[in-house]
Amino acid sequence: MKEDDNSHAYWKATIGLLTKILIVWFVVSFGAGILFADLLNNIKLGGYPLGFWFAHQGSIYIFIVLIFYYAKKMNDIDRQFDVHED
């Protein structure tokens, strides 16, 4: 069942990528923006306390980067396992 092996490997690679991205997603918003915000507020980014910056600005910028990174990596994985469209 070669076909099955390939699709298993593809799904494994996909889940691997998702896990990596979700870790970053969690760390910048729930981590830096909420759980460790007080700690980070001791550091200043210009006039911004850093924890406040992550909650009000930084996490949003990083979310955008994450989606485009995901889209690019996922296309690579599609090609690697030969399951891309047309």
Binding site: I21, G33, H56, F63, F68, Y70, V83, E85
Partner: protein, 602 residues
């Protein structure tokens, strides 16, 4: 030209623009009319999605709430953007591959059961109607200011216009109209922010201005704001929490997974040309959303600063002590914008200590030292109440910007509220007419009959939500947050398990959706009244407000989602696994190859 005329002209011109584009696009080919996004560039599609997404809650209400909440308001910012990461990675590409039009359709097919799809329709309707109540609140605010009437009358006018707008239909399907709405909305939001940022910090980019020093001072705007609001008895701006860290965590999580579970957002990804595009178009949508969302915190902090500057001149720019005699302005000398907003009933002054001046401070402060100083200064309670939902619309007036900027903001607020309300009504009408009436009750209904059922359901939805909007369960953004909690606890887990668990069966999914929805509604209704009807709250039954670990009803969706997952897995374990062909279908959905244009159109 006076302000009111300018507003009429701007709002009139923007409406003419949308209708003009609708007519122009209609004159083109019919296939273009229906294939929303099919031949549209991903960037354009991103703008249209952004317009669809950013509603009265984002445009009118959010910055005002952040203005009051300070740091804690970040939960809206992170929650309503972080969900796009989940949507792009966990749902959009797979739903696109699946190739159906509506969320109940996916759930019905994946869980091989009409009951599952009916339950999904119920969840969808509950979430969408709650969402529209929030929109109606926002529409009421916008129209009350725009027409100079009370906010109740504003809601009635809004109901009529939203109805005409949604039934006139077509419009919604035309991506270019939404592109135009996005442009109006984003200009209306950013232009005043640029002016105000320049005034206060000398930096024209609001995102940078918020982190800069005040003009002529070497203290940063945020540090100064922290100091001034603390002087007035409020919590420190950059650290004040909404209840607790746990509540902020759950609230943010709830908004994020709710974003990924809201039917009218998901629907946009069914019609992109390919799986590949489904992935990146979420990214483009977020780029355009982020322009507003990163500006909002600047608007919030600067509006707070300007409000304090207006009421107690000198306190921000010249270090005047807030307790000094005669610092607060005289009511008779209040600026015109206050008079204009007083008419709507959303801004109120009550001279509690009879000195003819406006004392604006936090009279509920728990700081004994502050309370004593306030009493010594002869303050007898806060005298100015400013409804959070007016902050954004009033912002350019507070900063004394030119009339055309104020008019532009009015046009933008209406664009935001109308485009989203219309989008939601479309989702409701397709769920009722397509998934419920045609799918279950009357499979042989004619196309005309289906259309009729759709329109009737829209009208009913508007009347219900308008009526509930008169006594809203909270500010526009807070009410919308409840809708996200409902979507988070019911639809998101079911869709996600449908894709990521091959073995999840119909019994598990149905039990999960029902328990998630029930738990969440039970907690929300305890606070806000049965079906949001005032006076039917039953807080005693759950042991007082926020009794579940201090979690507010708006944040409870995350708990509901966990219940949903847990119940689904338990039930799944003790019932038989899904048939072979369903498991094969899940395998196929996971792989991009073989995607085709959406069929089963309606």
């Amino acid at each position: 030209m006076d302000l009111q005329t300018t507003i009429y002209i701007y709002v009139g011109l923007s409406f003419a623009l949308y209708i003009g584009i609708a007519i122009w696009a209609r004159a083109g080919s019919t296939s273009e009319f229906y294939a929303a996004g099919g031949s549209v560039h991903p960037v354009m599609n991103g703008m249209a999605t952004a317009a669809d997404w950013m509603s009265a809650a984002s445009f009118i209400s959010m910055a005002g709430l952040i203005s009051n909440m300070g740091y804690g308001g970040g939960l809206f910012l992170m929650g309503w953007t972080g969900g796009y990461v989940l949507l792009a990675m966990l749902l959009a590409p797979y739903l696109r591959k699946f190739g159906k039009f509506t969320v109940p359709q996916f759930i019905g097919d994946r869980f091989y059961s009409k009951s599952a799809s009916t339950v999904a329709v119920v969840c969808l309707l509950t979430a969408s109607i709650t969402y529209i109540i929030g929109q109606m609140t926002g529409v009421g605010v916008a129209f009350s200011r725009f027409l100079g009437v009370s906010s109740e009358v504003g809601i009635y006018v809004g109901m009529a216009i939203v109805f005409a707008y949604a039934v006139f239909g077509g419009m919604k399907g035309i991506t270019y109209t939404q592109v135009a709405q996005y442009i109006v909305l984003i200009l209306a939001y950013t232009i005043p922010a640029v002016f105000i940022s320049l005034q206060l910090t000398g930096n024209p980019v609001p995102q940078l201005g918020l982190g800069s020093s005040l003009v002529g001072q070497d203290i940063s705007l945020l540090a100064k704001l922290d100091q001034v609001v603390t002087d007035l008895g409020f919590g420190q701006y950059t650290t004040s929490l909404p209840g607790s860290t746990l509540n902020m965590f759950m609230y943010t999580l709830s908004l994020m997974i709710g974003t990924a579970g809201l039917p009218h957002v998901i629907m946009r990804f069914f019609t992109v040309p390919s799986v590949k595009d489904a992935r990146s178009s979420a990214g483009w949508a977020l780029v355009f959303i982020a322009i507003l969302y990163t500006t909002a915190p600047a608007v919030a902090a600067m509006a707070k600063t300007n409000l304090i500057r207006t009421v107690t001149p000198g306190v921000v720019m010249q270090n005047t002590n807030v307790f000094d005699k005669d610092v607060a302005i005289k009511y008779d000398e209040r600026p015109d914008w206050m008079k204009r907003w007083e008419k709507t009933g959303l801004l109120k002054f009550e001279d509690k200590n009879g000195d003819g001046r406006i004392q604006y401070y936090n009279d509920a402060s728990k700081n004994a030292d502050f309370q004593k100083r306030a009493a010594d200064a002869g303050w007898k309670g806060n005298e100015l109440s400013v409804n959070a939902d007016i902050i954004v619309l009033a912002n350019p007036e507070i900063a004394l910007l030119p009339n055309w900027v104020i008019a532009l903001v009015a046009a933008g607020g209406l664009a935001a509220a109308l485009s989203t309300a219309a989008g939601l009504l479309m989702a409701i009408s397709s769920a009722v007419s397509h998934d419920l009436v045609k799918g279950i009750f009357a499979p042989n209904i004619s196309e005309k009959g289906e259309l009729m059922a759709g329109k009737i359901s829209m009208a009913v939805a508007i009347v219900i939500s308008g009526w509930l909007g008169l006594n809203p369960p909270g500010f526009a953004a807070g009410t919308v947050a409840l809708a996200f909690g409902i979507a988070a606890s019911s639809l998101f887990p079911a869709i996600m398990m449908g894709i990521f668990s091959k073995k999840m069966n119909k019994e598990g999914a149905i039990a999960g959706m029902l328990s998630g929805l029930f738990v969440t509604l039970f907690y929300v209704f305890a606070h806000k009244g049965l079906f949001f009807v005032k006076g039917t709250e039953y807080l005693g039954l759950i042991g007082g407000p926020n009794s579940f670990f201090g979690i507010t009803p708006e944040a409870f969706g995350a708990v509901g989602a966990m219940v949903n997952f847990a119940v689904a897995f338990l039930v799944d374990k003790v019932t038989k696994e899904p048939p072979e062909h369903i498991q094969a279908m899940v395998e196929a959905v996971r792989i991009p190859r073989g995607s085709r244009a959406v069929d089963g159109a309606h």
